[in-house]
């Protein structure tokens, strides 16, 4: 039997197989490598994109924190004692705290990261930063006049290097002037001070002459979604600003491979005197009286603002906007310039959708502003009411200038009483049960702006109306129908009286009066709020014409104030260069700071009331309700709706600003593009 066997041919050693297997293996390995490289590249791209977004979020968190920290530091630097701990108010501290505040929200504990072997990872959490120094991410965009490293360039004339800088110079607002000593402070701290004023060298955006109106001028309301005023509308304010550069990513650029980007920002604190028809730092109800009666004969020609705002019945603003710090509750008949504002206007998504559907996109007019807004829901904006409540009636010292950082003290800035140029102290009264004044101490400013004080005493140098000289003396006393003792201020006698005083500073300087009780007497009582029957009060008489009050007049008193008869009822020509058209209605500016006002003295007669101007409240807190037209007569009864005619308007010019006024701060951060 023949068998066949397969033999290996000589020289055939399987090279073809090896080649084939190797080729196929290489092909597969190549394909896998291609896929792997692609995946790595993809991860790298996504990581880069994520890190960039991470930087952006971290920047947002810090900017959001700055909005709240800077005004508080500025206030702190004005307070007595701040000079003893100056490091707490520096820009370095401010940025450090902003970083810490951002960290506090979302940061991951480094120990936790280490436990997960992620200690070297670049965290995408908003607050997680690796900065060891503020200088790693924030710096002044330009050098400074006095050299040295700085976090910010202040918006003042000493920063001429920054003002002329090609990158930021053309896009910044008007610079302010200030003394060199204040400039040196402003480099280190956010300084708010009366020392900062507009100057004719820098007038960009100013509506009026900086020489005529250096402290507050007309400037355009910024295009922010919070509507104390409407964007672009001129309003009375002073803008303090500082510019700084934020740079993220430079400190770990070697690790990320992502080039760092520097962005320039302007942080502004607008000092905004109260100037809209109605404003309050409390819950304000407009449209109806407290008993549910509708308002009548009331026109609102401008904005209304409150901590919380409720509109009831029909509320129609012919101009301006509706805004509140916390929330707005609107009735179905609320409108602004004829446009209905409905409940739910500020719901999440509603405002963005409304903005996107606003079909008015002419060049440069793509504003997302709406007729109503709530402060807490709009981006990088904060609105702060400077309202000390009833403390505004107390003249508290800020101590020596050396005890604080800012040249301007907080009490002098925020309270009404310290601002008054004339003071009248009730030194003695008939008895503790009869608060009829028998002695007063009056102070006025002389031509050197120094206070000159004289004490007037009944029976000595303070004549009654019936005594010689008494009929021209501006301060008298009386008992009202309700037996209340009042100190009468004869507004018609005061200008001549001031003019006749030794070395007088005149009415332009002596434009405000603070009436207060002495505090170290057992018989002179500090009036309660609300006023007791036994408490003394103040009565304004003879104020029909205030034409002699060339720079307006302000009265500040903790006492109840009776407006006995017509007050400021005679028009005068508007000041030249005030921005107010000649021939339009203009009255000397007047403000009254008192816890209670009564319109009329009589218990039986209620004269009609014509009210023109602005109404603000010293009430604070959301539980404190302010019904602005709940006006009371001399009999403590509410002025009937039919007897009240209110024409509530907005300030048109700083010329309409009374000597003493309430203040607000608007804080914004804007990027320089």
């Amino acid at each position: 039997m023949k068998t066949q066997s397969f033999r290996q041919r000589p020289g055939s050693r399987g090279y073809a197989t090896i080649t084939m297997v190797t080729s196929i293996s290489l092909l597969i390995v190549s394909l896998m490598a291609y896929t792997l490289i692609g995946s790595i590249r993809s991860f790298d791209n996504q990581a880069r994109a994520q890190v960039k977004q991470d930087y952006s979020q971290k920047e947002d968190a810090i900017l959001g924190a700055l909005i709240h920290i800077v005004p508080n530091k500025a206030m702190g630097a004005m307070r007595q004692g701040s000079a003893s701990n100056p490091s707490a108010y520096t820009w370095d501290t401010i940025f450090s705290e902003a970083l810490a505040m951002a960290n506090a929200e979302q940061a991951v504990n480094p120990q936790l990261l280490n436990s997960l072997n992620l200690g070297t990872a670049i965290s995408a959490n908003t607050g997680d930063t690796e900065f060891t120094s503020v200088s790693q991410f924030v710096n002044a965009p330009a050098g400074t006049y006095s050299g040295g490293s700085n976090r910010v360039n202040g918006g003042n004339w000493w920063e001429y290097i920054m003002l002329g800088d090609a990158r930021v110079g053309p896009k910044i607002p008007a610079a302010l002037q200030l003394p060199h000593s204040t400039y040196l402070l402003d480099k280190q701290y956010p300084i708010i001070s009366f020392d900062k004023t507009y100057v004719s060298w820098y007038t960009k955006g100013l509506g009026l002459s900086a020489d005529t109106y250096p402290l507050y001028n007309l400037i355009q309301y910024p295009d922010v979604k919070f509507g104390y005023k409407r964007p672009g509308e001129y309003f009375v304010a002073k803008r303090n600003w500082w510019v700084f550069s934020l740079t993220f990513g430079s400190h770990n650029q070697e690790r990320t491979g992502i080039p760092s980007v520097t962005k320039d920002y302007v942080l502004s604190i607008y000092e905004v005197p109260s100037q809209i028809p109605l404003s309050a730092a409390a819950l304000m109800k407009v449209g109806k009286f407290a008993d549910g009666t509708n308002w009548e004969n009331v026109s609102l020609d401008g904005s209304i603002f409150a901590d919380k705002l409720t509109t009831e019945g029909t509320v129609a603003l012919s101009a301006g906007a509706i805004s509140a710090k916390k929330n707005v509750t609107v009735s179905g008949q609320t409108s602004v310039s004829g446009r209905t504002v409905s409940e739910g206007f500020d719901n999440i998504g509603a405002r963005e959708e409304r903005a996107a559907s606003a079909n008015s996109g002419a060049n440069n007019s793509l504003s997302d502003f709406y007729d109503a807004s709530v402060g807490g829901n709009v981006g990088r904006v904060a609105f702060i009411q400077i309202n000390p409540g009833t403390d505004t009636f107390i003249n508290t010292s800020d101590g020596a200038a050396s005890e604080r950082i800012s040249p301007t003290g907080w009490n002098a800035y925020s309270r009404a009483a310290p601002k008054a140029q004339m003071t009248l102290e009730v030194r003695s009264v008939t008895s503790s049960s009869d608060q009829m004044p028998t002695s007063i101490r009056f102070s006025y400013r002389n031509s050197s702006n120094a206070l000159v004080t004289t004490t007037y005493t009944r029976g000595s140098n303070w004549p009654t109306d019936l005594q010689t000289g008494g009929s021209t003396f501006p301060f008298q006393t009386a008992a009202l129908e309700n037996a209340k003792r009042v100190l009468i201020v004869h507004m018609d006698r005061l200008p001549a009286f001031i003019a006749g005083l030794s070395s007088t500073g005149g009415m332009s300087r002596n434009n405000s009066l603070y009436i207060y009780p002495r505090t170290d007497s057992s018989s002179v009582k500090i009036p309660s709020i609300p006023s007791l029957t036994s408490d003394m009060a103040v009565s304004l008489r003879g104020g029909n014409s205030l034409t002699a009050y060339t720079s307006g007049f302000s009265l500040v008193s903790r006492y109840r104030v009776y407006i006995a008869d017509s007050l400021n009822n005679v028009q005068v020509p508007a000041p030249a260069n005030s921005g107010i058209s000649s021939g339009t209605t203009y009255y000397p500016p007047l403000s009254i700071f008192a816890p209670e006002k009564r319109f009329g003295e009589s218990l039986s007669i209620q004269s009609p009331i014509e009210l023109t101007g602005q109404l603000s409240s010293l009430k604070t807190g959301s539980s404190d309700t302010f019904n602005p037209l709940e006006l009371l007569s001399g009999s403590d009864a509410r002025v009937p709706a039919g007897s009240l005619n209110a024409d509530l308007t907005t300030l048109r010019s700083p010329a309409e600003l009374p000597p003493i006024h309430m203040m607000n701060w608007l804080v914004t951060i804007e990027e320089i593009h």
Partner: protein, 178 residues
């Protein structure tokens, strides 16, 4: 009878051995072909998602950066309307007009527009610098030429940008200016 001499070592393979060897070869070959097919299919899959994987994150990063800097935006059906600033829409938008406001109140504008230029789809960026009223006729730069469709919309209060890639893949970005 003649005997075939036999050696101590086998000089060849039996049929059974050959059958087994061929079988194994076929199995290995099939496996290799399968792996190859799998690799080719996987690479194809990866390539189809290249837009989402490589391009989209970069577009996202650019758009996020640009839109975050803006103060406000409007959506338009085409770049003509966007330049004119008229006819804003809330959906089916092909152009997004952005406004950048400076601290002194001056404004510059920009448009991100999806458009067909010379037969090629592009996502372009147009910048109208501060103080100018006319728009450039050619894009300032092209963000990407990979998407086949970019749709801007805002029907829920949030800006949505839906992009379709070359292979029909889609990705949607959501966000609003700060």
């Amino acid at each position: 009878m003649k005997k075939h001499a036999t050696s101590g070592k086998a000089k060849g393979f039996t049929l059974i051995e050959m059958t087994i060897a061929l079988g194994m070869t076929l199995g290995i070959a099939s496996t290799i072909v399968g792996i190859l097919q799998q690799q080719v299919a996987f690479i194809g899959l990866v390539s189809r998602f290249q837009f989402l994987r490589d391009e989209a994150p970069m577009i996202d990063s650019l758009l996020t950066t640009i839109i975050n800097k803006a103060d406000s935006y409007r959506i338009y059906g085409n770049i003509g309307n966007a330049k004119a600033g008229s006819g804003a829409v809330q959906e089916d938008g092909r152009a997004l007009r952005l406004r950048f406001r400076n601290p002194d109140g001056t404004v510059s504008n920009a448009i991100i527009s999806f458009e067909n230029q010379a037969g090629k789809n592009r996502l372009n960026f147009y910048l109208q610098p501060q103080g100018q009223t006319s728009w450039p006729t050619t894009p300032s730069w092209t963000i990407s030429s990979r998407p086949t469709l970019v749709d801007f919309s805002n029907t829920s209060g949030i800006l949505l940008i839906a992009m379709t890639g070359p292979n029909g893949e889609q990705i949607t970005y959501a966000g609003n200016p700060d």
